[in-house]
Symmetry: D3
């Protein structure tokens, strides 16, 4: 159904670069499950390594934000970009990391509010208040 | 420069419904500053009251998320929706509420990462993994 | 400031295909004013003729919708696509064609409401109700 | 399939706040049908009440626009925001309120035209013509 | 499942304007296959003729870009606009015209990179460098 | 005017990680000019190094696409994502690498066409034709 082939475990095993990334995904996440995103991206092994490396560095390195907060920001961007796959995968990830139903509800309320004021500000074509600007 | 008139303080004072909202904005924020968003929305007093009421309820009521986290989610949505005015106003708000430079940097890194994987997932048209689905 | 040159009247006069379209824009709109959109598009005379022809046909031919309604729909799309230039030009056009302040206010209220429910539906990844589907 | 549970009628009945909104939806629409949007939003009863209240006020209160026009604007925003669920639900609603096939066809023609000129204006990064600006 | 009826071959044959466009699509593409896009658009015969005419003129007339490059640009826009149907149809078209797996991989890598830097530039609200501007 | 400080050359020189990237940008581009994107991103030196590294690898490594084609794809994504800064910077880059006015005109024509058909496909909520699917 995708526009690219989704590599099976056997196919992934056969390409050393892909195998190394899949092994690292499993080790980092302490789970055998490798989701379709990586199976599709594996058609381009350097891209697979680059994107996984960036995700691992941003989301699991020496971070200042809480893992649940990180995933909520991810859901917010994915929703505004209308990526259905991403909304599903990061909502699942947020829940696994401890997002509670009230946190999820508040996240959705802020997304909805922001979408509304974003559209109003655009429809009014508002000039930015000087008070908001970072001093040069 | 906007597509609507931005009400001055004198004009806002003259409309009781608008005056009441502006007073509440000032009281809630403990600041005399009322930004252009509300001055533009004041052309439609019921909308002004409704949107301010929603924002006040979602952002300052009995919330479960930290105010800085709330503003970071707001920035994330505003960025993905490319609302320049909103990115400016909520980055300023986040700073006022205590967002540190490392938090801002990590927020931008997650937004950038999510934008990237959102576009990849869309370009690959990935089917959602069954594992991500909420059980019926 | 644009990424293309905006043709002056003198430059437009010198290219027969462009001149013909500019003349038709002026005649159709009963105004001497030709806005920047057409001056930029004039760098590609066939595109100028094609887009103007389509706009003229859709907006001023045998239409079933009221001209103000047409412009309100145009503003709605332009806002959701965050095209600042287009929001400005079509809000001005709607006003010229008779859009009243209460109509503008209601338009903005619907845009804001739709943006909000759009984001909520996307964040919840709702399955379409069978009742909504057109029967095959 | 959604990222939240869709409440059944029995589950909705059991929560007084949800029951009250569902009853009002049914009474306002003169129909027993409550679509998935509200069943998903019902996980957050205050959000359910707030969003329904706003929709009811904007779409069915003392409006200046025709109900079919309101729904066409809603479809325009939902299309530009690529909310599939919303395009389906509001196209169904517009038809129920009397949108004719020629009106639907013209709506789609304007959406398509606007999308095209939106992208052209953005690709050319056009400066706004001074004539379009609201006088201060 | 669509919001409009998808015309069957028999229905298309019965409407002369639609039949003429379908015949031209088949002749131009040297294939009997007419995809759902045209079957849906056929509900509005003038729109069908207009959009097909534009697509034929832009994509198959006296073009300066390679057909594979044209389709890659189409995929890029369709991805950023999150049109799943379009991503599928133009990826299939690009492959038919000769897009290789390494070209597809590089296309996705550029889309992903651009999405990332687009969001960063928006989040930082960068002023355009004077060096980038076209001289007046 | 940005939401972050744009580092001057003196400030960039003072941070070894930033200096190294700025030096590499200048060497790779054979130009002294470092545009605002990098000056803003330099507030987060690891992000600066990561994004520059990715851009350098994707755009200037062992690529299969022509540099002008790469930049045209970049412009296409940036336009659909309505990133004004990016449209400006990549249009300038494409010109520097040899994009001709007819190529630019055709690029804009394809972007405009795609935007139009994207919105039509979304408004019609078309099911993907089985012919477009990659065989499993």
């Amino acid at each position: 159904m995708a526009t690219v082939k989704l590599l099976t475990d056997a196919e992934a095993e056969a390409i050393p670069e892909v195998r190394a990334v899949f092994d690292d995904i499993r080790a980092t996440r302490k789970s055998d499950f490798v989701n379709n995103f990586w199976r599709g991206l594996a058609n381009d092994p350097p891209a697979l390594a680059r994107v996984w490396g960036q995700l691992k560095s941003v989301m699991t390195g020496q971070t200042v934000l809480d893992p649940v907060v990180q995933e909520m920001i991810y859901i917010a961007v994915s929703t505004a970009n209308t990526c259905g796959y991403c909304v599903h995968s990061h909502t699942a990830a947020a829940r696994k990391k401890g997002m509670t139903p009230p946190q999820h509800a508040e996240l959705l309320a802020i997304i909805a509010l922001a979408a509304q004021t974003n559209h109003l500000a655009t429809a009014m074509q508002l000039p930015t208040d000087p008070d908001f600007l970072v001093e040069g």
